[in-house]
Amino acid sequence: MTLLMTASEINGLPVVTVHGGEDVAEVRDVLYDPAAGRLVGLTLNKRGFLAGRCREVLPAESIHAIGRDAVMVVDDSAMVEPDAAPQEMAHPPANRNVLGNDVLTESGVSLGTVRDLVVVVGGAGEVVGYRIDKADGRPGYIPLPAQLAVSGSALVVPEVTESFVTDDLVGLGAAVDSFRARLGLP
């Protein structure tokens, strides 16, 4: 079964080592590459009451699994200094943040604004959809193709997206597969 979570649900999860059972950090923020439709990595906070920002970052390639209750890494070495992380993580492009962006279809209809990312958990975390605030103010979920055009203030999705807007995460799970099938994607 595919488990979907929003990025805001991932924020705050403990980062736990598989071969140690220790909580070594917690998720501060999810870094996302909107053009590629994938997680780049996670920024981290230290654990504990006086937790501050943790200097090290966790590149997506080093994530063992993202689950409901924890982000798993094999061991401490998964967390690296920003300089040692992939380029896109050390120096994120300015147009990274899609929250608040307008979602436009190819014909120019606005579906709403981006509120949150929807991530497939279990693996390294593929981003498969957005939670949006629809024009009427109600929340909705849209599936994403693997790639799309982003500018920093708006993103353009295929026309057909409009008919795949769902009201909840469960509906989105089913919508992603049929949506991608319609677009001829794997």
Partner: protein
């Protein structure tokens, strides 16, 4: 015959040389990979002492036997200090799958008193074979994704 961590807690630790009771079992410390008993922990905090599994002459149903008092030692590394504080005790620890989902908490652990090898972890509806354990620490016992539901 298998033993359980719950049954072992509170058992006398006796010197084989003098027949004196040296203390009682507070809990059992497992290796970081969570497969074996590493040591018997007696007492807690500053008064805690450890006996390595290899120093035991017998893990009996009524007493844990050690050669003599010299087998007792102070916590040596960070892991053993954490154990002395009770932070690594398996019972009550979170049971976490390697895919990052909580399965429950550990209620009890069975092990072979002859070898110190863990046999299984019991937690709520789950029973996890020891060879599915990937790691055990202060936050959680991590088990292979195939071991439990999800």
């Amino acid at each position: 015959m298998s033993e359980s961590f719950r049954q072992a807690a509170g058992r006398k630790v006796v010197s084989r040389a003098t027949a004196q009771q040296l203390g009682t079992v507070s809990h059992l410390l497992v290796t970081a990979d969570g497969r074996r008993v590493a040591a018997v922990v007696m007492g807690k905090g500053k008064k805690a002492s450890l006996v390595d599994w290899s120093q035991l002459t017998g893990f009996g149903t009524d007493a844990v036997m050690v050669g003599d008092e010299a087998a007792l030692r102070q916590p040596a590394d960070a892991r053993e200090h954490a154990a002395a504080e009770g932070k690594l005790e398996l019972i009550g620890r979170r049971l976490l799958s390697e895919s990052g989902n909580e399965l429950g908490t550990v209620d009890d652990v069975t092990f072979d008193p002859a070898s110190g090898a863990l046999e299984a972890l019991h937690g709520g509806a789950h029973q996890v074979a020891a060879d599915a354990v990937l790691g055990a620490g202060s936050y959680a016992v991590v088990v292979a994704a195939s071991a439990g539901a999800v």
